[in-house]
């Protein structure tokens, strides 16, 4: 046994992690998706109010692979997936690493509902591949993976789980606090749960719902209170996207954050994209759920502090 005991003791977790990654690939290849790789280092990230990219020279390390993947969709690729590293500044806690692994996939001629179905099948399949049944235990909760999973709107989630309403939370600028403190801890405790239809301003790259322009066709997946994935029907109107990027940059400026230059090639090609849907799933967090891990540190070989 070597000196680095804290690394050596993660051997079993890292073997399981490898099985999970292999299971994900197997699932998407079986579904006819093309595995792709796009550059980690990009000239500018998509401007978003609360996501800070890590500078790398005059460029940035990607906070998400979405810009390049959407350009591929615009160029005519129909089903693509990628498992890659992403970086976000100052995100560190029991559930966050500033460098983490995302699984991101896109489907042409699809909306956010089909991504929810993909999530169900993917996670059920991976559970089987790694030898778990359809009942898993995470954080002391017995969670049933059999579909269909729970689907509730954000508005309903406020109604069921919070003392206040969605409208009041937005008026009082307490949306994030109530989600984190009151709602998240109650989501997906018996069955994985999707919450969908977020307030329009919470989905900078998502399409608005046709029958209700106040909400974006965006959802998040929760298992055992843990947020695992964020997906949406893609906005494909490049002028609208440009306006939203400017609005996000204005919010950044009001918080005293740097503004990002706009990803012009992405904007130029966005109009070619067919109606599509795309989603990012936190791989480290899915491993946490399957391994019943308490901290994200337990499912990676190295944390930044260990380097």
């Amino acid at each position: 046994m070597g000196k680095n005991w804290s690394l050596a003791r993660r051997e079993k977790a890292l073997q399981q992690r490898a099985h999970i990654l292999q299971g994900m690939r197997q699932f998407f290849i079986g579904k006819g998706f093309l595995e792709i790789e796009t550059p980690h280092r990009i000239p500018t990230p998509a401007p978003e109010s609360h996501i800070d990219a890590t500078p790398s020279g005059a460029w940035f390390l990607q906070p998400s692979p979405e810009l390049c993947m959407k350009r591929m969709m615009a160029a005519g690729f129909e089903k693509i997936f990628q498992i890659c590293r992403c970086w976000r500044e100052r995100e560190r806690g029991n559930l966050h690493l500033p460098e983490f692994t995302l699984l991101e996939w896109y489907r042409a001629e699809a909306d956010y509902h089909s991504l929810m179905e993909d999530c169900e099948e993917l996670i059920q399949d991976v559970a089987t591949i790694i030898g778990l049944g359809q009942q898993i235990i995470y954080r002391g909760f017995e969670i049933d993976l059999f579909g269909p999973w729970n689907r509730i709107s954000v508005e309903e989630a406020f109604h069921y789980y919070s003392k206040t309403t969605l409208t009041k939370a937005l008026e009082q600028n307490l949306f994030d606090e109530i989600i984190v403190q009151e709602i998240e801890p109650k989501l997906g405790l018996k069955k994985p749960t999707f919450i969908y239809d977020y307030p329009a301003e919470r989905g900078a790259l998502a399409r608005l719902k046709q029958e209700n322009q106040a909400v974006a066709e965006r959802f998040e997946l929760y298992i055992g209170g843990l947020e695992l994935a964020n997906g949406f029907s893609e906005l494909i109107d490049s002028e609208e996207q440009r306006r939203r990027f400017h609005a996000e940059n204005a919010t950044r400026q009001s918080f005293g954050k740097s503004m990002y230059s706009l990803p012009e090639r992405f904007l130029a090609e966005l109009g070619d994209m067919p109606p599509s849907a795309g989603i990012a799933l936190g791989v480290d967090r899915l491993v946490m759920v399957f391994l019943d891990a308490e901290k994200i540190d337990d499912v990676v070989a190295f944390t930044p502090e260990a380097l």
Binding site: S49, E91, Q181, Y198
Partner: protein, 187 residues
């Protein structure tokens, strides 16, 4: 000045003009939302604990606490009198501010007094102190009907449970962090 992203366990900050110490900390960030810093804080004057959530960009003034070596002189009502070992200046700390530390103070005892903005807010004790037992029931040898521990009163008035072999007038060591008996001192 600290910002919310500096928050971590053990950090001392000023909130509403009073010093607080962070006793628990968690980073949260709901999808596409802002970073939230959830903390448990203990008021270093009153001992009162509260939960607070902060956002990125929130700022804090560090709570700068001074420690001065002092000697406990005497108690008068709720007032505990101390003397600065260097300047011989005398100060008073209230029983409320002392908290559990009042159980372990005997005359001429040396402690570190914590000061916040020149006001004494409490004392730091060594982890172990020796105090004399002034009252406890005698141990009847061979009597197994009694419980393993028996009540005892110390010279400070503090009451605790001690093993049956401890006798009145003896000196014992106790752990100031738990307030429990540690061992008997041989004199």
């Amino acid at each position: 000045m600290y910002t919310a992203s500096d928050l971590r366990k053990g950090l001392k900050v000023i909130i509403d003009e009073e010093p607080y110490i962070v006793t628990a900390f968690e980073f949260s960030k709901p999808g596409k939302g802002q970073a939230l810093y959830r903390t448990k804080l203990r008021n270093m004057i009153t001992g009162f604990t509260m939960d607070r959530t902060y956002r990125e960009g929130d700022t804090f003034e560090p709570a700068l606490l001074e420690e001065r070596a002092m000697q406990f002189l005497y108690k008068e009502g709720d007032h505990y009198h101390f003397m600065d070992n260097e300047t011989y200046e005398q100060i008073i700390i209230s029983e409320e501010s002392l908290g559990d530390a009042k159980n372990f103070l005997v005359e001429n005892f040396n402690v570190e007094v914590l000061l916040f903005r020149d006001k004494a807010i409490g004392v730091e004790l060594p982890n172990f102190v020796n105090l004399r037992v002034i009252k406890t029931e005698p141990w009847v040898r061979g009597d197994t009907s009694k419980a393993d521990f028996k009540p005892a009163t110390l010279e400070t008035g503090y009451e605790l449970r001690v093993p049956p072999f401890v006798e009145e007038g003896e000196l014992i060591t106790l752990d100031t962090r738990t307030g429990q008996f540690s061992k008997r001192v041989k004199e």
